[in-house]
């Protein structure tokens, strides 16, 4: 009788432990969907974003007392694929938030579906101004938006005699971000008396490999400045081909709407000297926080720290802070917590505006040139020329 009682009790105990909800276990991870391009034309940028987010997760360790699990999906920079991957991350994997995204086209496609997905989406690399106040669940904490970059670049041009009195030829990549970046720059440049050669600017297909026709067109125009809005990996490619045609040697200066990737700059070498542009960060920023972060990055990945990695790291830290502040993984609670949150990182305080869900932070104007001795063995540096406080870049709140 006693033996039977023990067996029945044991069975009941085992049944009980089997049916206790697993989420009660403290070790159940908080899942975050990381959506980045790992194949295609911007794969390197996507890889750097992934590195930044992974580094943040590793540093943070736990969220709400639970481990962080990053589930990475490749968008291939294609909006429909990104949406499908986001659905998989949310519905199948149980991701409580989405982070990452390279390309405004992909970001806008995800934003359009965010009500259905019902999780907060924090972009770390979408620059379109359409993101301001787009949706209560959509946030930006990452690369400067087009209006902020335009402000930085115009201020930089106005402040530098070698850039100011030039006529700029505007050429962009033919998609949402490029168009927005071109328009923002032209509007602001005209207000400041900067001469623009082609207000109806050139829009080159994103898959353009041979830039010779465009470079011939720039040569024929007789301008002495080029404003380019190309995805990061393509900037050195264009610069290299322009250099082959002698454009830079003829005195033409280049200003970029996006920060070139460091590995691409290394590959382009001397041809990539003399590219100006506003961005969040460069490893030339010399503050204790920046130096500490870039050395930690170098130690972990043994690759030159990039702007894409830095702002993705900061974006992830802001998201993690938001989840902790929310105290739960409830989507609305996280979204509410993200509004107004800030993180102090390698480029100072990055605050997500409570007004429009997009970040405000300081930025730098850089020029690419031969690098001094550095721990990363880099031959090209984005030399910091000027720093802009967050209030100067806007937009006003």
């Amino acid at each position: 009788m006693m033996k039977r009682l023990i067996i029945v009790s044991l069975c009941m105990f085992l049944s009980f432990t089997m049916f206790v909800p697993q989420q009660a276990a403290a070790a159940d991870p908080v899942k975050i969907g990381v959506i980045v391009p790992l194949t295609g034309i911007v794969a390197q940028g996507g890889l750097e974003m992934k590195m930044g987010i992974e580094m943040a997760a590793e540093e943070k360790g736990t969220l709400l007392g639970r481990p962080i699990e990053l589930i990475v999906e490749d968008t291939q920079v294609k909006p429909p694929i990104a949406v499908t991957k986001a659905e998989k991350l949310v519905y199948k994997d149980g991701a409580v938030a989405l982070i990452g995204v390279f390309s405004s086209g992909v970001g806008l496609a995800l934003a359009k579906n965010i009500d259905k997905l019902n999780v907060p989406f924090l972009s770390t690399h979408v620059m379109t101004t359409a993101f301001y106040g787009l949706n209560p669940m959509v946030f930006r904490s990452g690369q400067l938006a087009n209006d902020q970059t335009a402000v930085g670049n115009v201020k930089g041009i106005m402040a530098r005699p070698d850039l100011k009195d030039r006529t700029y030829y505007v050429i962009v990549h033919d998609y949402a971000w490029g168009h927005d970046a071109g328009q923002r720059f032209i509007e602001l440049a005209k207000k400041n008396g900067i001469k623009i050669y082609n207000e109806d600017f050139d829009k080159a297909p994103i898959k353009t490999k041979d830039w010779s026709s465009y470079i011939s067109k720039i040569k024929a125009s007789g301008v002495d400045g080029v404003y380019m809005a190309f995805i990061t990996n393509v900037i050195p490619v264009f610069a290299k081909q322009a250099y082959d045609f002698g454009l830079q040697q003829a005195g033409v200066k280049m200003v970029s709407a996006a920060a070139p990737g460091p590995l691409e700059l290394e590959a382009g070498g001397e041809a990539c000297y003399g590219i100006f542009g506003a961005s969040d960060w460069s490893w030339d920023v010399n503050t204790p926080e920046s130096d500490k972060w870039e050395m930690a990055f170098w130690k972990k990945y043994k690759t030159i720290p990039s702007d894409a990695a830095a702002h993705s790291y900061v974006g992830a830290m802001n998201l993690f802070k938001g989840i902790e502040k929310a105290g739960s993984t409830d989507p609305k609670a996280i979204a509410d917590a993200l509004r107004g949150i800030s993180y102090d990182g390698p480029y100072g305080t990055v605050r997500i505006s409570a007004k429009d869900n997009c970040m405000r932070n300081s930025a730098v104007l850089t020029e690419t040139m031969a690098a001094p001795d550095n721990p990363f063995g880099a031959k090209v540096v984005m030399k910091v020329l000027q720093t802009f406080p967050a209030e100067e870049l806007g937009p006003p709140e």
Binding site: Q44, P205, S212, S216, K217, K219, A220, G222, N233, K240
Partner: protein, 291 residues
């Protein structure tokens, strides 16, 4: 910059672009014309040529030596592919090789990405090739002019090989009357191998000359594969002369469209293809005229 110098720039740009299209497309056409294999991995072999050239030059080898070696390496890769992937499927429908080479394209791209990484690479050219040459008011890159010369030499060599040598004539005959050629004692297995290796070598040549022109990245072959298909469809599937005409036409149309219309450049190219196919469904010189 005056009108004449701009016209020279545009003309040379279109010839350079057309030249690269031509070498890739001719390689694709030779493989299809002689062995009826539509090699969707051809663009990846082109990329492999560029990366091989990059690696050889990076090790300190002279660019011209790399120009000879890189295509040979791609030829060896082509030989391996033909023997291991294509040959076992030869007796089956063309769809099998189409699917297999499609998969092979991703395999080679993945291998490239794994070996060389994602970031773009540039081939370091000898100093004199990095200069520009003054031509009637414009300064044109020496390497681009060298590309024209290399294209001309490759095409002349290929035409001489196909029209003046016994092997070349056998290859041409094999494209139109394979049964007869086989009856004459020619082992068709070697014709198929030769076609695939020759096509691969041409892809390798195009890759190493396109490397310094544009950039080297793991997916550089995708766009080139599409452009090559446009060329061979317009020229006539399997037609070598058709490919020459189509490549020069596409090079000129794309360059002019990029210069004057910009936003719609590629649309114009595909519209041209649609118009030509509407008028001549088998391409300019018709399908299968391997001459």
């Amino acid at each position: 910059m005056g009108g004449v110098s701009t016209a020279i720039d545009i003309t040379l740009n279109s010839l350079v672009l057309g030249g690269v299209f031509l070498i890739v497309a001719i390689g694709l056409n030779i493989i299809y014309g002689l062995s009826r294999v539509m090699n969707l991995a051809h663009g990846s072999l082109y990329a492999l040529g560029a990366y091989s050239g990059y690696t050889l030059v990076s090790t300190g080898l002279n660019f011209f030596v790399a120009l000879l070696l890189a295509p040979l390496l791609v030829g060896v890769a082509g030989l391996l592919i033909e023997r291991t992937v294509i040959a076992p499927m030869r007796s089956r429908s063309i769809v099998y090789t189409l699917i297999l080479t499609y998969g092979l394209m991703f395999f080679i791209d993945g291998l490239i990405k794994y070996t060389w990484g994602n970031e773009p690479r540039f081939i370091d050219l000898p100093a004199f090739m990095r200069e520009t040459l003054p031509i009637l008011g414009t300064h044109y890159p020496v390497f681009r002019l060298m590309t024209l010369l290399i294209t001309a030499v490759v095409m002349a060599g290929l035409m001489l090989f196909l029209s003046r040598t016994k092997t070349g004539m056998t290859l041409r005959a094999s494209s139109t009357i394979p049964e007869m050629v086989s009856c004459l004692g020619v082992n068709m297995k070697y014709v198929h191998i030769g076609a695939f290796v020759l096509g691969s070598v041409l892809a390798g040549i195009a890759g190493i000359i396109a490397g310094p022109l544009t950039t080297i990245d793991p997916i550089m072959g995708h766009e080139m594969l599409i452009s090559s298909f446009v060329v061979i469809v317009i020229g006539g599937l399997g037609s070598l002369r058709g490919a020459v005409i189509a490549a020069l036409l596409i090079g000129a149309v794309q360059t002019l469209a990029e210069f004057f219309i910009t936003d719609l450049a590629m649309v114009i190219v595909y519209m041209l293809m649609a118009i030509i196919l509407a008028i001549k469904p088998r391409g300019i010189l018709g399908e299968g005229k391997f001459e």
